[in-house]
């Protein structure tokens, strides 16, 4: 699919995007000038083409949710740009930001915390329409009914409070609210990870149907590789704030190149009792992003680490068409 869109301008792209969070230090420490920062996202570049689904995969703490929030201007970056149809969203004025927010929506992770407990479902879904003063009151009401049906709920749910709904139903409400303004791109931040497996499948199918019918573009943030395989066109693997490998889904699943991607894939459970699992898991816990390892961040846990890995930072480069990665094993002149 990605080959057909070469030459086309990406709908949304991150260029050298970084986000550093200063850690709360005392007054004295800041006077002495030694404030520590967490590098949640570090020079990330990513292109998202219209109609595609890009999955961002990583362990917790890899900065994938921070990336998602940067893409929607919910956070200000420390460096870099996010271009929406070629325009930097951080340079937009108030009116332009408002227009951008209409077209780029978010679906949040936890459907229990992401809906205002004191608003009825109907009002939650109608709120985006109210904010942008879309149509008359009756038109908004009609739209709410449409959206409820679209996501597989019915009109009876309109008067309910979120607490009266199940997790899957709440996630549907969140999806309906995100759809209300007919956005072009939706950032889905782990939309299924707090749902039961059966409900997960339903929600994923709903998202796939919506994409097909409405021509949506998704950035799908998840830690669940089995989900990624089903829904995404491209996958970006993040580790400690950096993208370590990015490729079309089939390529990545067929021949993962980065050692981190390889160990991640070996951890996907196989639904086949005859095949033995190859538990080639990364050694130890993910290191603290406060004090990341020198050189390649992954080297202390990497099964194929070389001596150079502890002091040389790998560059992100193309190894094949559409396939980029950051690993010294594939860099010339290092060995």
């Amino acid at each position: 699919m990605s080959s057909t869109i070469k030459g086309q301008r990406p709908l949304l792209s991150a260029v050298g995007l970084s986000k550093y969070f200063p850690l709360e230090t005392g007054l004295l420490a800041s006077l002495r000038g030694n404030t520590t920062t967490v590098k949640a996202v570090e020079s990330v570049s990513l292109d998202v083409y219209a109609g595609q689904t890009v999955a961002v995969v990583g362990e917790s703490g890899s900065g994938k949710s921070t990336l998602g929030r940067l893409l929607l201007r919910l956070l200000q970056p420390s460096a870099g740009q996010v271009l929406y149809q070629g325009e930097d969203i951080f340079g937009m004025n108030r009116a332009e930001t408002r227009a951008f927010r209409r077209q780029a929506q978010i679906i949040l992770q936890d459907p229990y915390a992401s809906l205002n407990p004191r608003m009825r479902v109907g009002r939650i879904i109608r709120e985006p329409l109210d904010i942008y003063s879309e149509g008359s009151k009756t038109e908004r009401q009609k739209r709410v009914h449409e959206l409820l049906e679209r996501v597989g709920l019915n009109r009876n749910h309109e008067r309910a409070f979120p607490a009266e709904l199940s997790g899957g139903q709440r996630q549907r409400v969140g999806i309906a609210a995100a759809l209300a303004l007919s956005p072009r791109i939706i950032i889905a931040d782990e939309p299924t990870s707090s749902l039961d497996v059966s409900v997960q499948a339903q929600t994923l199918n709903l998202l796939a149907d919506l994409q097909r019918d409405l021509g949506l573009t998704y950035v799908f943030i998840t830690h669940d590789l089995s989900v990624v395989q089903h829904i995404s066109d491209r996958v970006a693997v993040m580790y400690l704030g950096k993208i370590v490998e990015e490729a079309p889904t089939e390529t990545l699943f067929a021949e993962p190149k980065h050692p981190y991607t390889q160990v991640l894939f070996s951890a996907i459970p196989l639904p086949d009792p005859a095949r033995r699992m190859n538990w080639d898991l990364p050694k130890g816990e993910p290191p603290s992003p406060l004090n990341p390892p020198s050189g390649c961040h992954f080297h202390p846990r990497c099964p194929q680490a070389m001596s150079a890995c502890s002091h040389t930072v790998p560059r992100f480069q193309s190894v094949a068409r559409d396939h980029g990665l950051a690993c010294l094993l594939y860099e010339d002149g290092v060995n």
Binding site: A113, N116, R118, E127, I131
Partner: protein
Amino acid sequence: MKRELTPNAALRKTYEASRSAVLGGVIICVLVLLTATVSLYSPYTPEAMDFMAPLSPPTRAHLLGTDNFGRDILTRVLYGYQISLAVALGSVGFGLVVGVSLGLLAGYFGGILDNIIMRPMDVLMAFPAIVLVVALTGFVGRDVSVMIMAVAVVYVPIFARVMRGSTLEVVNELFVEGARARGASHLRLMLRHILPNAIPPVLIQASILMGIAILLESALSFIGLGTQPPDPSLGLMLSEGRSFMQQAPWMVMVPGLAISLAVLGFNLLGNGLQELLNPAGKGR
């Protein structure tokens, strides 16, 4: 130590809490009703003197006795409640509006605005309430409206602080971020999303501060800085009755019990609400 509650025990606790809230609510409603309509059913006016029966113990004509001028104590207590409740409602109402707005702004925007709002609040809070009220009434004059403003000034920082704290808790909730992503303005975020979810602890505080306002009004009137004679006020009646404690103990007992009853009502309501809105096992 944290206790784990079985579902049954939790239910029983909820029931007991709601019982306390309902009892408090009923006491307050009855008092407000009796007080608001007292001129319709009372055979006496608060200033009417019965020269035939000064210092009369409770009789059929004077259900709770009379004072040294022969004024009906029950009538005076009910009229006294009017001032007490006016001070309580007025000061808490004003304190709520100003304090909640300031606390919401401070908690929502944080940073410099937080400091600009909250540091003066800290200064106000450092004054002992009663001293501040005495100073204000002494300075501005003796009037119900002055008393209301004086108590309100004491209440504003309390409400601001509680509201700021609970705003800080709500502002980071996922649904607030979601609404922001949908393009909601600051005003909409504050009024539609944060305020309704952050207000419950403030309402509990309001109920308890109502009771304290009644006590403050009585204390001010008792030391002569509040309501002036011959207007009826519970604190003033206490102070007048002191000289007659030996001959007519009902002169101090009745207004004293009246104050207790009103304060008890508000505290029962506040505590009940606290238990209800902060269910077992969650927090504290």
